[in-house]
Chain length 309, copies 2
Amino acid sequence: MSLAAGQFEAFSEALNRHQDDLCRDLAALGGAGDAFEPDPWRSDLGVGETRQLIGGAALERAAVNRSDVAGDALPGAATEHRPELHGAAFRATGLSVVVHPRNPHAPAAHLNVRLITAGARWWFGGGFDLTPCYGYVEDCVDWHRTARQCCGVLGDADTFYGSFKRACDEYFHLPHRREARGIGGIFFDDLALDGDFPRCQDFALGVAAGFARAYLPILGRRIGSDYGEAERAFQLHRRGRYVEFNLVHDRGTRFGLQSGGRIESILASLPPEVRWGGGDRSEEERLLRDFLAPRDWLAQEVRSGGAAP
Amino acid sequence: MSLAAGQFEAFSEALNRHQDDLCRDLAALGGAGDAFEPDPWRSDLGVGETRQLIGGAALERAAVNRSDVAGDALPGAATEHRPELHGAAFRATGLSVVVHPRNPHAPAAHLNVRLITAGARWWFGGGFDLTPCYGYVEDCVDWHRTARQCCGVLGDADTFYGSFKRACDEYFHLPHRREARGIGGIFFDDLALDGDFPRCQDFALGVAAGFARAYLPILGRRIGSDYGEAERAFQLHRRGRYVEFNLVHDRGTRFGLQSGGRIESILASLPPEVRWGGGDRSEEERLLRDFLAPRDWLAQEVRSGGAAP
Protein backbone atom coordinates (compact mmCIF):
# COMPACT_ATOMS: atom_id res chain seq x y z
CA MET A 1 0.00 0.00 0.00
CA SER A 2 1.45 3.38 -0.99
CA LEU A 3 1.83 6.25 1.44
CA ALA A 4 -0.92 8.87 1.44
CA ALA A 5 0.00 12.42 0.47
CA GLY A 6 1.96 14.19 3.19
CA GLN A 7 2.68 11.11 5.32
CA PHE A 8 6.35 10.98 4.36
CA GLU A 9 6.76 14.72 4.93
CA ALA A 10 5.02 14.61 8.30
CA PHE A 11 7.36 11.91 9.54
CA SER A 12 10.36 13.81 8.20
CA GLU A 13 9.17 16.92 10.08
CA ALA A 14 8.79 14.91 13.28
CA LEU A 15 12.38 13.70 12.91
CA ASN A 16 13.51 17.32 12.63
CA ARG A 17 11.90 18.05 15.99
CA HIS A 18 13.63 15.03 17.56
CA GLN A 19 16.93 16.26 16.14
CA ASP A 20 16.39 19.67 17.73
CA ASP A 21 15.34 18.22 21.08
CA LEU A 22 18.20 15.73 21.25
CA CYS A 23 20.81 18.34 20.38
CA ARG A 24 19.44 20.68 23.01
CA ASP A 25 19.30 18.01 25.76
CA LEU A 26 22.65 16.44 24.96
CA ALA A 27 24.45 19.78 24.75
CA ALA A 28 22.95 20.84 28.09
CA LEU A 29 24.78 17.99 29.85
CA GLY A 30 28.08 19.75 29.30
CA GLY A 31 26.98 23.20 30.47
CA ALA A 32 27.06 26.45 28.54
CA GLY A 33 30.28 25.69 26.66
CA ASP A 34 28.96 22.69 24.74
CA ALA A 35 27.09 23.17 21.48
CA PHE A 36 26.37 21.18 18.35
CA GLU A 37 27.77 22.61 15.13
CA PRO A 38 25.18 22.40 12.37
CA ASP A 39 26.48 21.48 8.92
CA PRO A 40 23.60 21.43 6.43
CA TRP A 41 24.34 19.76 3.12
CA ARG A 42 22.72 19.30 -0.26
CA SER A 43 23.82 16.79 -2.87
CA ASP A 44 22.51 14.94 -5.93
CA LEU A 45 20.86 12.51 -3.53
CA GLY A 46 19.01 14.97 -1.36
CA VAL A 47 19.42 17.16 1.68
CA GLY A 48 20.46 16.71 5.25
CA GLU A 49 22.00 18.29 8.28
CA THR A 50 24.92 16.83 10.17
CA ARG A 51 25.18 18.23 13.70
CA GLN A 52 28.30 17.42 15.65
CA LEU A 53 29.56 18.24 19.10
CA ILE A 54 33.30 17.62 19.30
CA GLY A 55 35.42 17.97 22.40
CA GLY A 56 32.59 18.88 24.79
CA ALA A 57 32.90 18.85 28.56
CA ALA A 58 30.50 15.91 28.93
CA LEU A 59 30.44 14.45 25.43
CA GLU A 60 33.74 13.86 23.72
CA ARG A 61 31.98 13.38 20.42
CA ALA A 62 28.32 13.28 19.46
CA ALA A 63 26.55 13.38 16.12
CA VAL A 64 22.82 13.92 15.57
CA ASN A 65 22.27 13.69 11.83
CA ARG A 66 19.24 14.05 9.59
CA SER A 67 18.98 13.14 5.95
CA ASP A 68 16.23 13.09 3.32
CA VAL A 69 17.36 11.40 0.15
CA ALA A 70 15.79 10.05 -3.02
CA GLY A 71 17.10 8.05 -5.92
CA ASP A 72 16.23 6.32 -9.16
CA ALA A 73 17.28 2.87 -7.98
CA LEU A 74 17.09 1.42 -4.48
CA PRO A 75 20.61 0.36 -3.43
CA GLY A 76 21.41 -3.35 -3.22
CA ALA A 77 21.87 -3.14 0.56
CA ALA A 78 18.18 -2.23 0.89
CA THR A 79 16.78 -4.75 -1.57
CA GLU A 80 18.43 -7.90 -0.26
CA HIS A 81 15.09 -9.07 1.13
CA ARG A 82 12.98 -7.26 -1.46
CA PRO A 83 14.16 -8.44 -4.86
CA GLU A 84 10.95 -7.18 -6.45
CA LEU A 85 12.04 -3.62 -5.63
CA HIS A 86 15.48 -3.91 -7.17
CA GLY A 87 16.08 -0.77 -9.15
CA ALA A 88 12.86 0.94 -8.02
CA ALA A 89 12.81 4.69 -7.36
CA PHE A 90 12.89 5.40 -3.62
CA ARG A 91 12.78 8.06 -0.93
CA ALA A 92 14.30 7.71 2.51
CA THR A 93 14.28 9.93 5.56
CA GLY A 94 16.18 9.18 8.73
CA LEU A 95 17.66 10.31 12.00
CA SER A 96 20.99 8.88 13.10
CA VAL A 97 22.58 9.51 16.49
CA VAL A 98 25.88 8.41 18.04
CA VAL A 99 27.16 9.64 21.39
CA HIS A 100 30.64 9.02 22.85
CA PRO A 101 30.79 10.51 26.36
CA ARG A 102 34.10 11.58 27.85
CA ASN A 103 33.66 9.77 31.19
CA PRO A 104 34.58 6.06 30.91
CA HIS A 105 31.71 5.18 33.26
CA ALA A 106 29.15 6.72 30.89
CA PRO A 107 28.19 4.35 28.05
CA ALA A 108 28.22 5.25 24.37
CA ALA A 109 24.86 4.99 22.63
CA HIS A 110 23.43 4.77 19.14
CA LEU A 111 19.98 5.49 17.67
CA ASN A 112 18.67 5.18 14.16
CA VAL A 113 15.13 5.68 12.85
CA ARG A 114 14.29 5.67 9.15
CA LEU A 115 11.35 5.47 6.75
CA ILE A 116 11.88 4.19 3.23
CA THR A 117 9.36 4.18 0.42
CA ALA A 118 9.89 2.48 -2.95
CA GLY A 119 7.43 1.48 -5.62
CA ALA A 120 4.11 0.97 -3.86
CA ARG A 121 5.78 -0.07 -0.60
CA TRP A 122 7.02 1.65 2.54
CA TRP A 123 8.71 0.36 5.68
CA PHE A 124 10.41 1.57 8.85
CA GLY A 125 13.74 0.49 10.28
CA GLY A 126 16.02 1.46 13.13
CA GLY A 127 16.64 0.82 16.80
CA PHE A 128 18.91 1.79 19.65
CA ASP A 129 21.76 0.07 21.47
CA LEU A 130 24.08 0.88 24.37
CA THR A 131 27.84 0.31 24.62
CA PRO A 132 29.31 0.56 28.12
CA CYS A 133 32.95 -0.03 28.92
CA TYR A 134 32.16 -0.23 32.63
CA GLY A 135 28.84 -1.99 33.13
CA TYR A 136 26.11 -0.98 35.60
CA VAL A 137 23.20 -3.34 36.01
CA GLU A 138 20.86 -0.45 36.82
CA ASP A 139 21.68 1.21 33.48
CA CYS A 140 21.19 -2.01 31.52
CA VAL A 141 17.85 -2.74 33.16
CA ASP A 142 16.58 0.80 32.62
CA TRP A 143 17.70 0.73 29.01
CA HIS A 144 15.95 -2.52 28.23
CA ARG A 145 12.86 -1.61 30.26
CA THR A 146 12.43 1.45 28.06
CA ALA A 147 13.09 -0.65 24.97
CA ARG A 148 10.29 -3.00 25.98
CA GLN A 149 7.96 -0.07 26.71
CA CYS A 150 8.52 1.30 23.21
CA CYS A 151 7.37 -2.01 21.73
CA GLY A 152 3.94 -1.91 23.42
CA VAL A 153 2.47 0.35 20.77
CA LEU A 154 2.89 -2.42 18.17
CA GLY A 155 0.89 -5.03 20.08
CA ASP A 156 2.20 -7.52 22.62
CA ALA A 157 5.26 -5.78 24.06
CA ASP A 158 7.06 -8.98 25.06
CA THR A 159 6.72 -10.54 21.63
CA PHE A 160 7.99 -7.51 19.71
CA TYR A 161 10.65 -6.67 22.29
CA GLY A 162 11.89 -10.27 22.32
CA SER A 163 12.19 -10.36 18.56
CA PHE A 164 13.78 -6.90 18.20
CA LYS A 165 16.19 -7.53 21.09
CA ARG A 166 17.35 -10.77 19.49
CA ALA A 167 17.87 -8.98 16.16
CA CYS A 168 19.91 -6.32 17.99
CA ASP A 169 22.12 -8.89 19.73
CA GLU A 170 22.68 -10.65 16.42
CA TYR A 171 23.52 -7.51 14.49
CA PHE A 172 25.84 -5.73 16.95
CA HIS A 173 28.24 -8.61 17.17
CA LEU A 174 31.94 -8.84 16.23
CA PRO A 175 32.42 -12.35 14.82
CA HIS A 176 36.20 -11.94 14.67
CA ARG A 177 36.27 -11.21 18.42
CA ARG A 178 33.30 -13.39 19.33
CA GLU A 179 32.10 -10.40 21.32
CA ALA A 180 28.96 -8.31 21.43
CA ARG A 181 29.54 -4.62 20.73
CA GLY A 182 27.48 -3.67 23.76
CA ILE A 183 24.48 -4.66 25.83
CA GLY A 184 22.08 -4.33 22.91
CA GLY A 185 18.62 -2.86 22.89
CA ILE A 186 16.25 -3.16 19.92
CA PHE A 187 16.80 -3.35 16.19
CA PHE A 188 14.07 -3.63 13.55
CA ASP A 189 13.72 -3.49 9.79
CA ASP A 190 11.01 -4.07 7.17
CA LEU A 191 8.41 -2.87 9.64
CA ALA A 192 5.04 -2.20 7.96
CA LEU A 193 2.51 -4.11 10.15
CA ASP A 194 0.26 -5.01 7.21
CA GLY A 195 0.09 -1.39 6.12
CA ASP A 196 -0.80 0.21 9.46
CA PHE A 197 1.20 3.39 8.90
CA PRO A 198 -0.02 5.39 11.92
CA ARG A 199 0.89 2.62 14.35
CA CYS A 200 4.31 2.05 12.75
CA GLN A 201 4.99 5.77 12.80
CA ASP A 202 3.99 6.01 16.47
CA PHE A 203 6.42 3.22 17.22
CA ALA A 204 9.30 4.74 15.22
CA LEU A 205 8.88 8.16 16.83
CA GLY A 206 8.46 6.43 20.18
CA VAL A 207 11.84 4.78 19.65
CA ALA A 208 13.44 8.19 19.15
CA ALA A 209 11.68 9.52 22.25
CA GLY A 210 12.52 6.35 24.22
CA PHE A 211 16.20 6.74 23.36
CA ALA A 212 16.25 10.17 25.00
CA ARG A 213 14.12 9.01 27.95
CA ALA A 214 16.45 6.07 28.67
CA TYR A 215 19.81 7.58 27.83
CA LEU A 216 19.72 11.06 29.33
CA PRO A 217 19.24 9.82 32.94
CA ILE A 218 22.04 7.26 32.48
CA LEU A 219 24.34 10.01 31.25
CA GLY A 220 23.18 12.23 34.11
CA ARG A 221 24.31 9.76 36.74
CA ARG A 222 27.57 8.68 35.07
CA ILE A 223 29.21 11.72 33.49
CA GLY A 224 30.38 13.04 36.86
CA SER A 225 31.93 9.75 38.06
CA ASP A 226 35.49 9.83 39.31
CA TYR A 227 38.02 8.19 37.06
CA GLY A 228 41.74 8.06 36.51
CA GLU A 229 44.22 7.09 33.83
CA ALA A 230 43.51 3.36 34.11
CA GLU A 231 39.80 3.87 33.36
CA ARG A 232 40.60 6.24 30.52
CA ALA A 233 43.04 3.70 29.04
CA PHE A 234 40.42 0.96 29.26
CA GLN A 235 37.84 3.20 27.57
CA LEU A 236 40.22 4.00 24.69
CA HIS A 237 40.98 0.30 24.32
CA ARG A 238 37.29 -0.68 24.23
CA ARG A 239 36.56 2.05 21.69
CA GLY A 240 38.84 0.09 19.35
CA ARG A 241 36.12 -2.58 19.26
CA TYR A 242 33.59 0.06 18.29
CA VAL A 243 35.77 1.13 15.36
CA GLU A 244 36.33 -2.48 14.32
CA PHE A 245 32.60 -3.14 14.30
CA ASN A 246 31.72 -0.03 12.34
CA LEU A 247 34.44 -0.31 9.71
CA VAL A 248 34.49 -4.10 9.29
CA HIS A 249 30.88 -5.15 9.87
CA ASP A 250 28.35 -2.32 9.94
CA ARG A 251 26.32 -2.53 6.74
CA GLY A 252 25.36 1.15 6.80
CA THR A 253 28.94 2.34 7.20
CA ARG A 254 30.35 -0.02 4.60
CA PHE A 255 27.57 0.71 2.15
CA GLY A 256 28.06 4.44 2.64
CA LEU A 257 31.82 4.24 2.09
CA GLN A 258 31.51 2.04 -0.97
CA SER A 259 28.76 4.05 -2.60
CA GLY A 260 30.55 7.37 -2.27
CA GLY A 261 28.38 8.69 0.55
CA ARG A 262 29.20 11.77 2.59
CA ILE A 263 32.28 10.82 4.64
CA GLU A 264 31.75 13.43 7.35
CA SER A 265 28.31 12.03 8.12
CA ILE A 266 29.14 8.34 7.74
CA LEU A 267 32.23 8.41 9.90
CA ALA A 268 30.70 10.70 12.52
CA SER A 269 29.93 7.42 14.30
CA LEU A 270 33.60 6.78 15.09
CA PRO A 271 34.82 7.54 18.61
CA PRO A 272 37.09 10.57 18.92
CA GLU A 273 40.10 8.90 20.49
CA VAL A 274 41.04 5.24 20.38
CA ARG A 275 43.87 2.98 21.39
CA TRP A 276 44.92 -0.45 20.12
CA GLY A 277 47.31 -2.72 22.01
CA GLY A 278 47.04 -3.17 25.73
CA GLY A 279 43.78 -2.94 27.69
CA ASP A 280 43.18 -4.34 31.18
CA ARG A 281 42.55 -8.08 30.69
CA SER A 282 40.73 -8.76 33.96
CA GLU A 283 38.49 -5.71 33.55
CA GLU A 284 37.73 -6.87 30.03
CA GLU A 285 36.89 -10.41 31.11
CA ARG A 286 34.52 -9.01 33.68
CA LEU A 287 32.80 -6.77 31.11
CA LEU A 288 32.47 -9.60 28.61
CA ARG A 289 31.21 -12.10 31.17
CA ASP A 290 28.88 -9.90 33.20
CA PHE A 291 27.54 -7.50 30.61
CA LEU A 292 28.25 -8.26 26.97
CA ALA A 293 27.05 -11.85 26.89
CA PRO A 294 23.46 -11.42 25.66
CA ARG A 295 21.03 -11.88 28.55
CA ASP A 296 17.52 -11.17 29.72
CA TRP A 297 18.10 -7.85 31.44
CA LEU A 298 14.49 -7.52 32.50
CA ALA A 299 14.88 -10.65 34.65
CA GLN A 300 17.85 -9.14 36.49
CA GLU A 301 17.52 -8.04 40.06
CA VAL A 302 18.84 -4.49 40.40
CA ARG A 303 21.11 -4.00 43.36
CA SER A 304 20.95 -0.30 43.96
CA GLY A 305 24.27 1.40 43.27
CA GLY A 306 25.97 -1.88 42.46
CA ALA A 307 28.39 -1.91 39.56
CA ALA A 308 28.39 -5.69 39.19
CA PRO A 309 25.48 -8.07 38.71
CA MET B 1 57.15 -26.16 -11.94
CA SER B 2 57.18 -27.55 -8.39
CA LEU B 3 59.66 -26.45 -5.78
CA ALA B 4 62.71 -28.67 -5.25
CA ALA B 5 63.16 -30.33 -1.89
CA GLY B 6 64.23 -27.85 0.79
CA GLN B 7 63.59 -24.69 -1.21
CA PHE B 8 60.53 -23.72 0.79
CA GLU B 9 62.31 -24.44 4.09
CA ALA B 10 65.41 -22.48 3.08
CA PHE B 11 63.32 -19.41 2.30
CA SER B 12 61.42 -19.81 5.56
CA GLU B 13 64.73 -19.96 7.45
CA ALA B 14 65.94 -16.83 5.70
CA LEU B 15 62.78 -15.01 6.80
CA ASN B 16 63.51 -16.04 10.38
CA ARG B 17 66.88 -14.32 10.13
CA HIS B 18 65.27 -11.18 8.75
CA GLN B 19 62.80 -11.24 11.63
CA ASP B 20 65.67 -11.45 14.13
CA ASP B 21 67.66 -8.69 12.45
CA LEU B 22 64.72 -6.33 12.10
CA CYS B 23 63.66 -6.78 15.73
CA ARG B 24 67.21 -6.14 16.90
CA ASP B 25 67.69 -3.02 14.76
CA LEU B 26 64.24 -1.53 15.41
CA ALA B 27 64.45 -2.10 19.17
CA ALA B 28 67.90 -0.47 19.26
CA LEU B 29 66.41 2.83 18.08
CA GLY B 30 64.72 3.28 21.44
CA GLY B 31 67.71 2.46 23.61
CA ALA B 32 68.04 -0.25 26.23
CA GLY B 33 64.42 -0.02 27.43
CA ASP B 34 62.78 -1.08 24.17
CA ALA B 35 62.34 -4.75 23.36
CA PHE B 36 60.07 -6.89 21.21
CA GLU B 37 57.90 -9.37 23.10
CA PRO B 38 57.94 -12.74 21.33
CA ASP B 39 54.60 -14.57 21.21
CA PRO B 40 55.04 -17.92 19.44
CA TRP B 41 51.82 -19.63 18.40
CA ARG B 42 50.70 -22.94 16.97
CA SER B 43 47.28 -23.64 15.49
CA ASP B 44 45.51 -26.03 13.12
CA LEU B 45 46.90 -23.95 10.28
CA GLY B 46 50.54 -23.96 11.27
CA VAL B 47 53.06 -22.12 13.38
CA GLY B 48 54.25 -18.57 13.74
CA GLU B 49 55.74 -16.00 16.00
CA THR B 50 54.24 -12.58 16.58
CA ARG B 51 56.77 -10.12 17.99
CA GLN B 52 55.47 -6.81 19.21
CA LEU B 53 57.03 -3.74 20.73
CA ILE B 54 54.37 -1.62 22.42
CA GLY B 55 54.94 1.73 24.06
CA GLY B 56 58.63 2.03 23.22
CA ALA B 57 60.64 5.22 23.50
CA ALA B 58 61.12 5.48 19.72
CA LEU B 59 58.43 3.16 18.38
CA GLU B 60 54.96 3.52 19.78
CA ARG B 61 53.96 0.21 18.25
CA ALA B 62 55.80 -2.21 16.00
CA ALA B 63 55.06 -5.76 14.94
CA VAL B 64 57.48 -8.12 13.17
CA ASN B 65 55.53 -11.31 12.53
CA ARG B 66 56.43 -14.66 10.98
CA SER B 67 54.04 -17.40 9.99
CA ASP B 68 54.30 -20.78 8.27
CA VAL B 69 50.90 -22.20 7.44
CA ALA B 70 49.46 -24.99 5.34
CA GLY B 71 45.95 -26.01 4.39
CA ASP B 72 43.86 -28.39 2.35
CA ALA B 73 42.27 -25.71 0.25
CA LEU B 74 43.80 -22.44 -0.93
CA PRO B 75 41.56 -19.58 0.28
CA GLY B 76 39.46 -17.66 -2.23
CA ALA B 77 41.45 -14.48 -1.67
CA ALA B 78 44.53 -16.23 -3.05
CA THR B 79 42.88 -17.97 -6.01
CA GLU B 80 41.10 -15.01 -7.58
CA HIS B 81 43.62 -14.98 -10.45
CA ARG B 82 44.34 -18.72 -10.31
CA PRO B 83 41.00 -20.50 -10.69
CA GLU B 84 42.79 -23.73 -11.58
CA LEU B 85 44.18 -23.85 -8.02
CA HIS B 86 40.85 -23.40 -6.31
CA GLY B 87 40.72 -25.88 -3.46
CA ALA B 88 44.33 -27.08 -3.93
CA ALA B 89 46.45 -27.92 -0.88
CA PHE B 90 48.92 -25.12 -0.15
CA ARG B 91 51.78 -23.96 2.03
CA ALA B 92 52.62 -20.35 2.74
CA THR B 93 55.47 -18.71 4.61
CA GLY B 94 55.71 -15.00 5.23
CA LEU B 95 57.16 -12.07 7.12
CA SER B 96 54.94 -9.13 7.94
CA VAL B 97 56.16 -5.88 9.49
CA VAL B 98 54.37 -2.72 10.58
CA VAL B 99 56.04 0.15 12.44
CA HIS B 100 54.30 3.16 14.01
CA PRO B 101 56.94 5.53 15.42
CA ARG B 102 56.11 7.87 18.27
CA ASN B 103 57.53 11.01 16.67
CA PRO B 104 55.05 12.57 14.19
CA HIS B 105 57.95 13.46 11.88
CA ALA B 106 58.95 9.80 11.55
CA PRO B 107 56.84 7.94 8.97
CA ALA B 108 55.06 4.63 9.60
CA ALA B 109 56.16 1.77 7.36
CA HIS B 110 54.98 -1.62 6.23
CA LEU B 111 56.75 -4.66 4.75
CA ASN B 112 55.42 -8.00 3.62
CA VAL B 113 57.23 -10.88 1.91
CA ARG B 114 55.60 -14.25 1.27
CA LEU B 115 56.07 -17.47 -0.67
CA ILE B 116 53.05 -19.61 -1.51
CA THR B 117 53.09 -23.04 -3.09
CA ALA B 118 49.98 -24.90 -4.25
CA GLY B 119 49.60 -27.85 -6.58
CA ALA B 120 52.62 -27.77 -8.88
CA ARG B 121 52.91 -23.97 -8.65
CA TRP B 122 54.71 -21.46 -6.45
CA TRP B 123 54.85 -17.68 -6.38
CA PHE B 124 56.14 -14.78 -4.32
CA GLY B 125 54.27 -11.70 -3.18
CA GLY B 126 54.86 -8.69 -0.97
CA GLY B 127 56.31 -5.21 -1.02
CA PHE B 128 56.91 -2.20 1.19
CA ASP B 129 55.30 1.20 1.53
CA LEU B 130 55.84 4.33 3.63
CA THR B 131 53.21 6.48 5.38
CA PRO B 132 54.41 9.89 6.56
CA CYS B 133 52.17 12.42 8.23
CA TYR B 134 54.79 15.14 7.73
CA GLY B 135 56.50 14.65 4.40
CA TYR B 136 60.23 15.03 3.67
CA VAL B 137 61.34 14.88 0.07
CA GLU B 138 64.69 13.41 1.08
CA ASP B 139 62.95 10.46 2.77
CA CYS B 140 60.65 9.83 -0.18
CA VAL B 141 63.49 9.88 -2.67
CA ASP B 142 65.65 7.56 -0.56
CA TRP B 143 62.76 5.18 -0.07
CA HIS B 144 61.97 4.95 -3.77
CA ARG B 145 65.64 4.83 -4.77
CA THR B 146 66.04 1.73 -2.61
CA ALA B 147 62.80 0.29 -4.03
CA ARG B 148 64.18 0.69 -7.54
CA GLN B 149 67.53 -0.87 -6.51
CA CYS B 150 65.73 -3.94 -5.18
CA CYS B 151 64.10 -4.47 -8.57
CA GLY B 152 67.41 -4.71 -10.45
CA VAL B 153 67.85 -8.37 -9.56
CA LEU B 154 64.78 -9.25 -11.64
CA GLY B 155 66.04 -7.68 -14.87
CA ASP B 156 65.54 -4.12 -16.05
CA ALA B 157 65.15 -2.18 -12.79
CA ASP B 158 63.08 0.63 -14.30
CA THR B 159 60.56 -1.73 -15.86
CA PHE B 160 59.96 -3.79 -12.73
CA TYR B 161 60.10 -0.78 -10.41
CA GLY B 162 57.65 1.12 -12.59
CA SER B 163 55.19 -1.75 -12.60
CA PHE B 164 55.51 -2.56 -8.89
CA LYS B 165 55.31 1.11 -7.89
CA ARG B 166 52.11 1.54 -9.90
CA ALA B 167 50.64 -1.57 -8.25
CA CYS B 168 51.56 -0.13 -4.84
CA ASP B 169 49.95 3.25 -5.57
CA GLU B 170 46.82 1.47 -6.79
CA TYR B 171 46.55 -0.83 -3.80
CA PHE B 172 47.26 1.56 -0.93
CA HIS B 173 44.47 3.91 -1.86
CA LEU B 174 41.36 4.93 0.09
CA PRO B 175 38.60 5.29 -2.51
CA HIS B 176 36.17 6.78 0.03
CA ARG B 177 38.67 9.57 0.79
CA ARG B 178 40.19 9.72 -2.70
CA GLU B 179 43.52 9.69 -0.90
CA ALA B 180 46.64 7.58 -1.04
CA ARG B 181 47.54 5.94 2.26
CA GLY B 182 51.14 7.08 1.93
CA ILE B 183 53.90 7.73 -0.58
CA GLY B 184 53.93 4.13 -1.80
CA GLY B 185 56.91 1.98 -2.64
CA ILE B 186 56.59 -1.41 -4.37
CA PHE B 187 53.93 -4.10 -4.32
CA PHE B 188 54.09 -7.39 -6.22
CA ASP B 189 52.17 -10.66 -6.44
CA ASP B 190 52.17 -13.81 -8.59
CA LEU B 191 55.91 -13.43 -9.07
CA ALA B 192 57.47 -16.59 -10.54
CA LEU B 193 59.57 -15.29 -13.50
CA ASP B 194 58.92 -18.39 -15.65
CA GLY B 195 60.06 -20.66 -12.84
CA ASP B 196 63.35 -18.96 -11.96
CA PHE B 197 63.13 -19.64 -8.23
CA PRO B 198 66.64 -18.50 -7.23
CA ARG B 199 66.19 -15.12 -8.85
CA CYS B 200 62.71 -14.61 -7.36
CA GLN B 201 64.00 -15.62 -3.95
CA ASP B 202 66.93 -13.20 -4.23
CA PHE B 203 64.47 -10.45 -5.04
CA ALA B 204 62.07 -11.31 -2.18
CA LEU B 205 64.86 -11.43 0.40
CA GLY B 206 66.33 -8.29 -1.14
CA VAL B 207 63.00 -6.55 -0.52
CA ALA B 208 63.20 -7.47 3.17
CA ALA B 209 66.80 -6.25 3.31
CA GLY B 210 65.95 -3.14 1.30
CA PHE B 211 63.17 -2.26 3.74
CA ALA B 212 65.68 -2.16 6.59
CA ARG B 213 68.30 -0.34 4.50
CA ALA B 214 65.83 2.37 3.50
CA TYR B 215 63.78 2.70 6.66
CA LEU B 216 66.33 2.61 9.49
CA PRO B 217 68.20 5.74 8.32
CA ILE B 218 64.89 7.60 7.87
CA LEU B 219 63.89 6.68 11.41
CA GLY B 220 67.35 7.64 12.62
CA ARG B 221 67.04 11.19 11.36
CA ARG B 222 63.38 11.74 12.34
CA ILE B 223 62.75 10.11 15.72
CA GLY B 224 64.56 12.88 17.57
CA SER B 225 62.72 15.77 15.88
CA ASP B 226 61.12 18.40 18.06
CA TYR B 227 57.35 18.34 18.13
CA GLY B 228 54.48 19.65 20.19
CA GLU B 229 50.80 19.00 20.76
CA ALA B 230 49.74 20.26 17.34
CA GLU B 231 52.01 17.77 15.55
CA ARG B 232 50.87 14.97 17.84
CA ALA B 233 47.22 15.81 17.16
CA PHE B 234 47.85 15.80 13.42
CA GLN B 235 49.60 12.43 13.67
CA LEU B 236 46.68 10.89 15.62
CA HIS B 237 44.26 12.30 13.04
CA ARG B 238 46.22 10.90 10.10
CA ARG B 239 46.47 7.52 11.79
CA GLY B 240 42.68 7.38 11.47
CA ARG B 241 43.22 7.04 7.71
CA TYR B 242 45.54 4.12 8.33
CA VAL B 243 42.85 2.36 10.38
CA GLU B 244 40.21 3.10 7.76
CA PHE B 245 42.38 1.61 5.03
CA ASN B 246 43.25 -1.51 6.97
CA LEU B 247 39.75 -2.29 8.24
CA VAL B 248 37.73 -1.23 5.20
CA HIS B 249 40.00 -2.04 2.25
CA ASP B 250 43.02 -4.17 3.06
CA ARG B 251 42.42 -7.62 1.60
CA GLY B 252 44.77 -9.36 4.02
CA THR B 253 43.15 -7.84 7.09
CA ARG B 254 39.61 -8.44 5.91
CA PHE B 255 40.36 -11.96 4.80
CA GLY B 256 42.03 -12.71 8.12
CA LEU B 257 39.12 -11.34 10.14
CA GLN B 258 36.52 -13.14 8.07
CA SER B 259 38.33 -16.47 8.05
CA GLY B 260 38.85 -16.61 11.80
CA GLY B 261 42.56 -15.82 11.69
CA ARG B 262 44.62 -14.90 14.71
CA ILE B 263 43.34 -11.48 15.83
CA GLU B 264 46.48 -10.48 17.74
CA SER B 265 48.58 -10.93 14.60
CA ILE B 266 46.11 -9.51 12.09
CA LEU B 267 45.34 -6.35 14.04
CA ALA B 268 48.95 -5.78 15.07
CA SER B 269 49.00 -3.51 12.01
CA LEU B 270 46.74 -0.93 13.67
CA PRO B 271 48.32 2.19 15.12
CA PRO B 272 48.38 2.39 18.93
CA GLU B 273 46.53 5.66 19.38
CA VAL B 274 44.17 7.33 16.95
CA ARG B 275 41.84 10.29 16.82
CA TRP B 276 38.81 11.00 14.62
CA GLY B 277 37.30 14.46 14.23
CA GLY B 278 39.47 17.50 13.85
CA GLY B 279 42.87 17.51 12.17
CA ASP B 280 44.69 20.55 10.80
CA ARG B 281 43.13 21.25 7.38
CA SER B 282 45.96 23.28 5.90
CA GLU B 283 48.61 20.80 7.04
CA GLU B 284 46.51 18.02 5.53
CA GLU B 285 46.08 19.83 2.21
CA ARG B 286 49.82 20.29 2.05
CA LEU B 287 50.48 16.60 2.76
CA LEU B 288 47.93 15.45 0.20
CA ARG B 289 49.13 17.88 -2.47
CA ASP B 290 52.89 17.63 -1.99
CA PHE B 291 53.36 14.03 -0.92
CA LEU B 292 50.39 11.70 -1.24
CA ALA B 293 49.50 12.40 -4.85
CA PRO B 294 51.39 9.59 -6.65
CA ARG B 295 54.48 10.97 -8.35
CA ASP B 296 57.84 10.04 -9.79
CA TRP B 297 59.99 10.48 -6.70
CA LEU B 298 63.17 9.55 -8.52
CA ALA B 299 62.75 12.58 -10.76
CA GLN B 300 62.53 14.91 -7.72
CA GLU B 301 65.36 17.22 -6.94
CA VAL B 302 66.36 16.77 -3.29
CA ARG B 303 66.79 20.05 -1.45
CA SER B 304 68.96 19.12 1.46
CA GLY B 305 67.12 19.43 4.74
CA GLY B 306 64.02 20.78 3.03
CA ALA B 307 60.70 19.62 4.32
CA ALA B 308 58.71 20.70 1.27
CA PRO B 309 59.19 19.73 -2.37
